[in-house]
């Protein structure tokens, strides 16, 4: 078990597949369309840049570990938008309450998420979710700062961790 875990927790580049290249070229072309605000007269240069960016990004960030399931992204973003709205309201509530109801502290929780992009997703998401701010990732643990140690931080982190896991293909037959 622990060896299996260790294997999961190290970043390991995987062989580049044709679909990796295709996705990146398409994404770069999409970015060009967005950045040029839909102008049609610059596509010659745009295609060149898209290919160049794909080459550079494959060199700098080779594909690692489990792949992001793009089709599951909208669901994640919807959940995230709702929760981060709640996070803003939560901060506002605490700020405007006369007694300043705060009980800040740190919590360290176990985390069995593959190293690399999944963890970055989680850490960055947590900083924008209600009551949590990711402080540090130590091996298989995550240290979180919270506005109120009395609230159920473990459940919040567990929920976020589950959703990031789903985003990276957990819960599907391989």
């Amino acid at each position: 078990m622990s060896q299996e875990r260790h294997r999961l927790l190290t970043i390991k580049p995987v062989p580049v597949e044709a679909r990796d290249v295709l996705y990146r070229v398409l994404f770069a072309a999409f970015l060009w369309w967005v950045l040029s605000e839909g102008r049609a007269d610059s596509w010659g240069f745009g295609v060149l840049m898209a290919l160049l960016v794909t080459g550079i990004s494959l060199g700098l960030f080779p594909p690692v570990g489990p792949r992001l399931r793009w089709r599951r992204l909208p669901g994640y973003l919807l959940w995230f938008a709702g929760r981060s709205l709640l996070a803003g309201v939560d901060v506002a509530r605490r700020l405007l309450a006369p007694g300043l109801p705060l009980n800040p502290g740190r919590v360290t929780l176990d985390l069995d998420l593959p190293d690399g992009p999944p963890r970055w997703w989680l850490a960055n998401s947590l900083s924008l979710l209600p009551g949590t701010l990711s402080v540090a990732l130590h091996g298989q643990q995550i240290e979180v700062h919270t506005l109120d140690t009395r609230s159920d931080i473990a459940r919040e982190v567990e929920e976020a961790r589950r959703r990031v896991g789903v985003l990276y293909g957990e819960g599907t037959s391989p």
Partner: protein, 96 residues
């Protein structure tokens, strides 16, 4: 109708920016200030982006301002995490 919604979103966005700045002064220590700033300001920016969406001139522009928001989200979440980590590393080392 769209106009009313737009003004309402703009107002709410400004409100959250104000709250973020208020948090910068009212919360007791640096880590709690990070909470207030990242959450309130990013929500404020999001609401302002939503308010601007009806007035754009094309799909690409709409995606572009959404992209600016996403980049700002990632940027501030990353810097919040980095500042928090530096603070706790500094405490452990006994400096600062």
């Amino acid at each position: 109708m769209t106009e009313v919604l737009q003004v309402a979103l703009l107002f709410l966005g400004c409100l959250f920016f104000g709250l973020g700045t208020l948090g910068l002064f009212r919360f007791p220590d640096t880590l709690t200030r990070i909470h207030a700033l990242t959450k309130a300001d990013n929500l404020g920016l999001g609401l302002i982006v939503l308010a601007l969406l009806p007035g754009v001139t094309g799909w690409a522009v709409a995606v572009k301002i959404l992209l600016v928001w996403v980049v700002a989200l990632v940027a501030s979440a990353t810097s919040a995490h980095l500042v928090a980590r530096a603070l706790s590393a500094g405490e452990e080392a006994g400096s600062d």
